[in-house]
Point group: C2
Chain length 232, copies 2
DNA sequence: TAGTGGTCTAGACCACTTT
DNA sequence: AAGTGGTCTAGACCACTAG
């Protein structure tokens, strides 16, 4: 853990504990340099993290202000944290609908940015929050990077497995957001009506070296899924 | 314009002109310090901008790599640039459906984060791209901040008016993304069917001092509107 | 081992807000 | 005028990649 991450975590805790409720501001950069005994650059790196999380906003000449908390029950889009962390206190289950290994054809090779013939896992999951169907996920994994997956992993947390067991370094991700009608089959799985709306997020996740290892299309239950992000 | 913005703009141009097509990398930080005669911090600030725009990704120990360009015809979500810049080369028109000034009641005061009784503009617009209905926009503006709006401004570009004529300093914005069914009226305006899907973005825009001045709900034509963002 | 991005420090001046 | 965040410089060492 870097120094600026330590400072950011500490400040986040202090904000959540309402330590700055009176002023609605965190201490000045000079004060934080003093308190944590770090340089200004380190303080600013820490603050940048909290700003990106939507916890703070800067007013030049005045201070770093604590933001009113966002609407409840929204999933934070600007972070690849996994669905689990976005639903604290809820019961999360996954039902594996299908697992297969395919060789990338022309089309799939283009999606996965890989050579034709590359072995690819194709997985369909139904994600359930508190016993209510929440989303259907169609995912391709490059098997050269994720060599093994089974039903048990798929039904617990693929995200945790990749991050903690395989220790694969996530780099960045692209998200494409759109809406369409549910298919007949999807509506049954989500316990909605055929042709009901669905919000679709395609999530392409890259390693730190820029290799794509995961392309998901996630079909969300429009009655439950709401997303949040903060810009600038 | 700051130095790092100048460097970022120059690099963006050079990337778009395919100057680095062979290596797929921009010059190293040391080389950029030399080329632009600036400090490392300035170079890194410039690079951060381009990374946030999804133009580059870093590989520690190796370099800053140029990203494959994203899918076409997607609107970039992580920037408040206005719809105009997201549709270069397309004909954009706005049809003003309704303008009124209301006093914030309890409910509206909560949405606009203002005092009860504050005068608020309420505007409905139909946004049209190349003669096809693209989105319906329901917007509240705090009249204390935007004192005057008329049909002409509304049908050209409110965004440009606020930014260039009023010179109001945008700070940050929150976006809430969801989907729902179109109402009867909305489906007629968008030339779609009743109960067709719609992707909804609520966009709350704040001044640099943290004051909310604009809360929009935008109902997009699901056949046309696709959004893109990049994370981390 | 050399090259390159990531973290960290120390210090200066500028732009803006507040008093 | 004093306080606070924004920009900028110079220099050091660490972590990771690649030849």
């Amino acid at each position: 853990m870097t120094k600026y991450e330590t400072v950011a975590n500490s400040l986040a805790d202090r904000i959540n504990n309402h330590e700055f409720n009176e002023t609605k501001k965190i201490p000045t950069e000079d004060q934080l340099m003093e308190e944590y005994n770090v340089s200004r650059n380190t303080v600013r790196n820490a603050i940048k993290i909290l700003t990106k999380l939507g916890l703070l906003y800067p007013v030049q000449g005045s201070g770093m202000f604590i933001r009113e908390s966002r609407k409840c029950d929204t999933v934070f889009l600007s972070g690849t944290r996994g669905i689990t962390k976005d639903h604290p206190g809820n019961k999360l289950t996954n039902k594996c609908l299908s697992v297969e290994i395919v060789e990338a054809d022309d089309n799939l090779a283009q999606i996965m940015l890989c050579e034709i013939g590359t072995p690819i896992y194709y997985i369909e999951r139904l994600r359930i929050v508190d016993d209510i169907p929440y989303a259907i996920e169609y995912t391709y994994y490059n098997k050269n990077i994720i060599p093994y997956l089974d039903k048990e992993i798929i039904e617990s947390s693929i995200f945790r497995y990749i991050k903690e067991d395989l220790k694969i370094p996530f780099g960045f991700s692209d998200k494409y957001i759109s809406a369409r009608k549910l298919t007949d089959q999807e509506s049954q799985l989500l316990e909605l009506e055929k042709n009901d709306p669905a919000i679709i997020i395609e999530d392409d996740i890259y390693l730190t070296n820029g290799t794509l290892f995961n392309s998901s299309q996630i079909v969300y239950n429009y009655k439950l899924a709401h997303f949040f992000m903060t810009v600038e």
